[in-house]
């Protein structure tokens, strides 16, 4: 994460009003810098990355599963807001993912693991992009990919729902 860094997120967690105001200002500046960066690279991003950027709002989505079968890397999420749709992100990666734990001190981590903030940038390879994601449990995922496909899944069967068929 270049803009919405774990360090800045930690500063936001201090509940002293002056510290909160300062951290808010830094967060806002980070948002403005990210906005400018996105604007400058938008025309060079792969169409699928642009589509993901425009369509998905994954903040607070619960992470159900993360896995890979190279060159594919997948994340399964359940949206926080009703109707709690299940979303699948399937990346065609161009290099192994980087997955770091412990980027946020335990006292500022939440559970279950949720998607918090993400950033998109150009990848090192031509026609690729980089997607960095910061999760509530302090994990950070960085993917370099050529494509990403987003799917909204309707639940047919969910083991976590007592094994009941909830939709058909």
């Amino acid at each position: 994460m270049k803009y919405f860094t774990p360090e800045l997120y930690v500063r936001l967690q201090r509940l002293d009003p002056r510290v909160m105001d300062a951290a808010d200002a830094q967060w806002e500046q980070a948002g403005e810098r990210y906005e400018r960066r996105l604007k400058s690279i938008r025309s060079k991003l792969p169409p699928s990355a642009l589509a993901m950027l425009g369509q998905t709002r994954l903040h607070d989505a619960e992470v159900l599963w993360i896995g890979h079968a190279l060159p594919f890397f997948a994340i399964l999420l359940r949206l926080d807001a009703a109707p709690r749709t299940t979303i699948g992100l399937n990346y065609f990666v161009v290099e192994p993912a980087r997955f770091d734990e412990g980027t946020i001190p335990a006292e500022f981590c939440g559970s279950p693991m949720q998607w918090m903030y993400d950033e998109i940038d150009l990848g090192a390879e031509a026609h690729s992009f980089k997607h960095s994601i910061l999760f509530s449990n302090g994990c950070h995922l960085e993917l370099a990919a050529r494509e990403v496909h987003v799917a909204n899944f309707d639940t047919v069967y969910s083991g976590s729902n007592g094994g009941v068929v909830v939709s058909s």
């Binding site: 936001l12 950027l53 709002r57 939440g110 918090m116 903030y117």
Partner: protein, 104 residues
């Protein structure tokens, strides 16, 4: 109590108002404001995992009220506004550290 102190510093500023809340679907991140409730009712709602929203002209007082409500339920995490991840109309919010995401 902290909410009253925060807002009471400026006699011209009305106290924050707490409302029942729900979240709009469709990715806007918007919060739909419902009936006005008091702080005790807000805490009960939060304990049930339901959302509330704090409204008013004094942003610092709103924030402190939200902290008071959320801390009455348990340890909190603060989530700033983030248009790309949460939607263009999403609000900064507080949520429980160890629960499914619900917010004040």
């Amino acid at each position: 109590m902290a909410a009253n102190q925060a807002a009471g510093g400026d006699a011209a500023q009305p106290l924050p108002k707490i409302h029942e809340a729900s979240r709009a679907t469709g990715g806007s991140g918007a919060v739909i404001k419902g009936s006005e409730i008091d702080e005790a009712h807000a805490v009960i709602r939060r304990q049930r995992g339901e959302d509330v929203v704090v409204c008013g002209d004094n942003l610092a007082a709103n924030r402190q009220t939200a902290i008071n409500v959320e801390l009455a339920v348990g340890p909190v995490l603060r989530q700033p506004k983030h248009s790309y991840s949460a939607g263009p109309q999403a609000l900064p919010h507080f949520q429980q550290k160890n629960a499914a995401a619900r917010r004040t």
